[in-house]
Subunit: 412 residues, 2 copies
């Protein structure tokens, strides 16, 4: 590849294929490539996907060439009639295809190694547009290639994620670092639980943030992340002072902080790591999360000594619960009994006000989120909203958060 | 929305957000919307994603307006400073923002119902471009809206998948069907479990399929779907004869068949519906799926009377298992005891050869998948592969499939 020295180069991701455009698969290639390129210091400006139509491909290639410094393109390099990338490059950039004997031998060798004979259709994978630079693919049959048109460097990669990722790591990444002058921006991720995006925004508004930082948010059902993207010129001291100021203000809703090199842990990982360190175990009665708390512990088997789900009536019989009293006390008594009977260090009991089935849609429930610890009982009474699945997931995550608050000695 | 009557209209998907463009998440919204729109009869021509920059958003809106009949846009409707969709529409189409009191009241009501007070930042969600048609969002705070510019009808939806999907199903789908003249091709979905895509392809290859049908596949961790897309001209008889021929050939791996109007049930739904019809119940010991079987039953609480997870040693003590004998017999004895003790109609017991922790990566396990039924014991010994999470999910689904095979009187 030629040497190019843009600073802060823009890159676009171009995905080709009917399976993407018709929604049979989500475009994980675009996401994976973007996160790699951002970390390297590129500015990703667009993702575009089109189907297997020659005119759509040609049009898009020309558009991208006119506005971007670099483009990573996946898909369309296979041996079937709907693999049109080579042809589209030839048409878009007036670069007629030529046949390459060495490329054909590489493809044949790939099949030989696997004890197979190359099918005739694979011959078309040995055609390249004039001026392309071939990139050998050790992980599949489709040879990759790069092609420079005016200011834009195109890299064409196979669409199979396994092949694409191996090729990128082994060959493309290093090439891009020599072709472009890259300076990545420091990125910090603050992970929170129990607070919404808009409340986080309100907190940040009060802090009068300096303009060397840009803020972003990302909400999932398990956490809300605050992303701090710093200017490259910021000093290490200014950076850590600001992170401290922000996390102080967000208080005990923050459960993890990470950067590009060290991803912030999930809430489940934070709890698991703390319990593993202390060699502590947990038993759970999951009347609300119905197995989902236990299911989320997979990979941390040592943490969970048992988990149980049943209907409230059965629970009442089996544990001889006094149900004339309030549910908060019932949950506390049950947690104590569970800890004694299971011998685990912690006992988590979750009951809700309708006792059995979670109602669907917007009818809210009260969750009696109760943790028997070696130091006594902890309880939070919280509201569950949304669909049954939302309530179930929320209850499971509130269980982990109650444990996390105890383990990190936060207030309840 | 206005009435428009394009035939075979084109639609583009526009995704906004730093989390998409930087690769923090794969764009599942684009995939989900595309598959819905294709089924309705749209031609999806492009997916594009850009970040939260006003100029990038404005540029893309103008581009799409110039070439497409319709555009579904997700993201950027939230209450934070990086939510710029409203402003971008105002700038791109010269449609100044106005403040809507009713929309504000709806947002306030959403918070009130959850016992919260609306933050001041949420006020910005009550601004709309002049000429927009508001679409109430019952599942979140961000009101959706449609906006027509020249030939293109834009629909702006929140980026949170749960809200977006509910809004699409409840409101957008019907509107689009009145706005556009849509003639979907008949689409049949055959859902299978326990067979891979390539094996299904081999079966289909032996059938010498007529050219009035196009075949597609979609694999998830819970099922493999075969999609049959028929020409619009095909007769009802030819269609049903071919469906019969294909499902016969695929045999008992098929668990549901659906079409555009009646979605095929999931494996969990098939099992739940059958048990509900017979008023039958189930108890489970989830040594392998670790709560995930129970978690997947949420919404069908009547089906599951109890589910239990614990370490093998505890299980052995609690149930006085004879562990000198082979694991297959241990599982059968345990299933019988569980059925007797729980009083449920069915008892599902899953043990695996390493007894406690599931190993990660590619080390395979043997699963002793065991079901005590009113007619006696059913057992399948199966292999689990992949990561811990893969093995966990596979075990849970194999549990449902064992039940399904019994309930549909299929061979084991």
């Amino acid at each position: 590849m030629d040497k190019i020295t843009f600073i802060n180069p823009t890159v676009e991701i171009f995905s080709q294929g009917e399976e993407v455009i018709t929604g049979q698969i989500a475009d994980t290639n675009a996401a994976w490539l973007s996160s790699q390129l951002i970390e390297m210091g590129f500015k990703v400006s667009r993702h575009t996907a089109v189907g297997d139509q020659l005119d759509a491909l040609v049009k898009l290639l020309k558009e991208i060439a006119s506005r971007s410094d670099c483009c990573l393109c996946t898909g369309g390099l296979g041996p079937t009639t709907d693999d049109l990338t080579r042809e589209a490059v030839a048409v878009a950039f007036d670069a007629p295809l030529y046949f390459d004997e060495t490329a054909l031998k590489n493809i044949q060798r790939f099949f030989q190694k696997r004890g197979k004979v190359m099918a005739e259709v694979n011959r078309q994978q040995a055609f390249f547009p004039q001026g392309a630079t071939q990139i050998d693919n050790l992980w599949g049959t489709a040879p990759a290639f790069s092609f420079k048109f005016q200011r834009c460097l195109f890299i064409f990669l196979p669409g199979v994620p396994y092949e694409m990722r191996h090729l990128f790591n082994a060959k493309i990444k290093a090439s891009l670092m020599t072709c472009f002058s890259l300076k990545p921006q420091p990125l910090i991720t603050i992970k929170t639980f129990g607070i919404g995006e808009s409340e986080l925004q309100v907190i940040l508004n009060t802090l009068n943030l300096p303009n060397f930082v840009k803020i972003g948010f990302r909400a999932t059902s398990d956490e809300v992340q605050v992303k701090l993207l710093f200017n490259k010129e910021v000093t290490a001291d200014d950076k850590s002072a600001l992170i401290q100021k922000i996390t102080d203000k967000m208080g005990d809703r923050v459960f993890a902080v990470g950067n590009l090199e060290n991803n912030a842990d999930s809430l489940v990982d934070v709890v698991s790591t703390a319990l593993e360190k202390n060699k502590q175990t947990l038993s759970a009665i999951e009347s609300v999360s119905q197995g989902l708390f236990a299911a989320k512990c997979v990979g941390h088997t040592w943490l969970l000594s048992s988990s149980f789900y049943t209907h409230f009536e059965t629970l009442k019989q089996q544990w001889q619960l006094e149900t004339e009293i309030d549910l908060s006390t019932v949950a506390q008594q049950l947690a104590k009994k569970l800890q004694q009977q299971s011998g685990a260090d912690f006992a988590l009991v979750q009951l809700h006000d309708e006792r059995n089935a979670l109602s669907n849609n917007n009818h809210p429930h009260l969750l009696y989120n109760t943790l028997q610890t070696p130091q006594g009982i902890y309880q939070q009474i919280q509201t569950l909203n949304g669909s049954q699945k939302n309530k179930q997931n929320r209850a499971a995550m509130l269980g982990f958060d109650l444990l996390r608050r105890y383990l990190q000695q936060k207030k309840l």
